[in-house]
């Protein structure tokens, strides 16, 4: 093994699959799937009679159809469910038109709003989704229907991929970034740029001038929170407010963001990364239920 391959992958977040222990496959009437092929992660959610039956969440590969396939297989693993039994499948996310098993596609904007409505509850009115390479602020109604939305423009600073690069740069496992960013004596000023290239330069400079790694993490999380806030500010927040996507798991960014916003985000037991795929599967369920499924 070369030194390069032995190198620890600090950016790597935890892939996971799950099966609902309270649901029995043989009881299910309508089974639908939603597959969200994002720029960084892919999820498949299986919905049985309107409830989440199983899901898989993993890293996106270089090929969208293959990523969709892998995510679906991961979700189906050990569930006893065979793909043929799925009544309808909707693809979403960046690679939505390249999901081979999908019957149709719907944008991740619509799917995240619908998914958040399910995993957080129908009170949610503003959804912030911070994904691998984009950030969306979505306003929705009590059914999870989009009423307005904004996306980051041109640059992917302040998104998940930026955080991955940063975790690698500072050799801090990405899952520890949040906690460690609060293990500091005093909150530092944010780094002046969330541009990944510049932030690296700035972080390297700070480390050289004697900053602790945790302080640099805090400064970067804080800068990301500010950047995300500028997007939310443009759309205006109506409570209740919920966060989806991988960044929802990083409290270094999220707690700082909530402090700037002066409110509390809703809480959920669900994996926040599955919101898009869940929304897609739920749309699929509704279509089948109304006889608008596969012909």
């Amino acid at each position: 093994m070369t030194d390069e391959t032995k190198k620890e992958e600090f950016w790597r977040w935890t892939e996971a699959n799950w099966k609902n222990p309270d649901m029995k496959l043989e009881d299910l009437k309508i089974i639908t799937a939603g597959i969200d092929v994002g720029s960084v992660s892919s999820q498949a959610v299986i919905v049985g009679d309107g409830q989440i039956f199983a899901y898989g969440n993993m890293r996106t590969g270089s090929d969208s159809p293959e990523s969709a396939r892998n995510a679906l297989n991961y979700a189906l693993k050990d569930t006893g469910l065979h793909e043929d039994r799925i009544d309808y499948c909707i693809g979403t996310g960046y690679g939505r038109v390249n999901v081979p098993m999908a019957d149709r596609s719907i944008t991740e904007i619509a799917c995240h709003a619908r998914g958040a409505n399910f995993i957080y509850g129908p009170e949610v009115r503003t959804v912030l989704d911070v994904g691998g390479q984009d950030c969306k602020a979505i306003r929705c109604d009590g059914r999870g229907k989009v009423t307005n939305f904004l996306m980051n423009d041109k640059c992917a600073a302040g998104t998940g991929r930026g955080m991955e690069v940063f975790a690698d740069l500072l050799s801090v496992p990405i899952t520890e970034v949040g906690d460690r960013s609060f293990d500091i004596k005093e909150e530092p000023a944010p780094v002046s740029s969330t541009c990944v290239v510049y932030a690296k330069t700035e972080a390297t400079g700070l480390l050289r001038s004697g900053w602790e790694v945790n302080e640099v993490l805090a400064a970067y999380c804080s800068a990301m929170a500010e950047r995300i806030y500028s997007l939310i500010e443009r759309i205006g927040v109506q409570e209740k407010f919920a966060i989806t996507g991988g960044m929802a798991k990083n409290k270094g960014v999220i707690n700082r963001l909530m402090k700037i916003m002066g409110l509390e985000a809703m809480k959920t037991q669900w994996d926040t990364q599955i919101a898009g795929a869940a929304g897609a599967a739920l749309f699929a369920h509704t279509l089948v239920e109304r006889g608008k499924g596969r012909k």
Binding site: V97, R104, S105, I106, T107, I109, A110, V146, F149, D153
Partner: protein, 382 residues
Amino acid sequence: MIEQFKQWYDKRHVYAREWKERNGGKIVGFFCTYAPEEIFYAFDVLPVRVLGSHEPQDVTEPHIFGMFCPFCRDVLAQGLKGRYDYLDGIMIAQSCLHLRQAFTSWEIHKNPGWSYFLPMPNHVQSKRAIPFLKEEYKLLIEKLEELTGKKITDDDLRRGIKIMNRARQVMKDIYEFRKREAPPITGAESMYMTCAQFFTHATEFAEVAEKVLVELETRKLDRDPGKRIMLVGSENDDIEYINMIEHLGEQESVGCTLVVEDHCTTTRYFWDLVDESIDDPLDAIATRYVNRTACPTKDWPQRTRLKRILELAKDFNVDGAIIVQQKFCDPHETDIPFIRKFLEENDIPTYFLEFDVTVPAGPFAIRTEAFLEQLGMEDDLF
């Protein structure tokens, strides 16, 4: 027949060079649609608008600020790269400072030997705007006499008016077809047409456009029109974007047709005709340019454009409007919050996109599609 306009758009310089060879006439490039083309036609000079090429370029950095709009930089790039080197003159009618800087820089570095700045009044809502502009036109005429060595009569001006009005009227007639439930012409095709007006002689344009008008009577497009979209905003000839959104329906579950626009490359340019019943032709021309649908650089203190935008939105039965802005275009940026609020109050949903020389296809596709979903998400899904 309709393909002709794409050809003219794509091969604008070939057309101009050939026109010059055929007619031995002079060609003047103009920078803004406030240029009174009637007067140029009265002199038998061919006016062509300078538009950008939507290609990344590296020649304007030393000449124009990075925070000036991408359109004016793209325009200047065309000049600096010599793509309009067949021009006998360049002129601008005052509109915005960004474009004027592009003009001035072109004047300094690539002056074809004749250049003219027409002080088109900004305060078009003033009663003095028309007499002021008329006097300015007289100075322009003197300058054009120098260029051509000709004198013109009122009849020449009336001829110029007729040439321009004919092209305008046929475009308006073409737009009538876009009101149909299934428009027989796509937004992209229509944009090729409206922009081809800038690069061709108005008479030659009108002759072909009138044939298209006949064709449209029976033309049927093999596509689902989907949602009816309006584009509103700054200079825009990003046909690639329009093509992309009009093809969304082939892959995605929502599609759309662009049915009308408020751009200076489309309706703001041709919608208003010169009133031929006004006796003095210069009065008539000045009246037309002062009263035409205003560019936001001139649309104050009253925002008169709002009324026109709403009329178009209603007449063309639009489902939603995409508001586009050239990055850093301050005049449009100032108007956008008012336009969006006004349209939303009138039950026309809006979405905003910021355009550059090139636009990011992936993210813009997602955003446009999500807007289309928002307009027409079947209630079956909820």
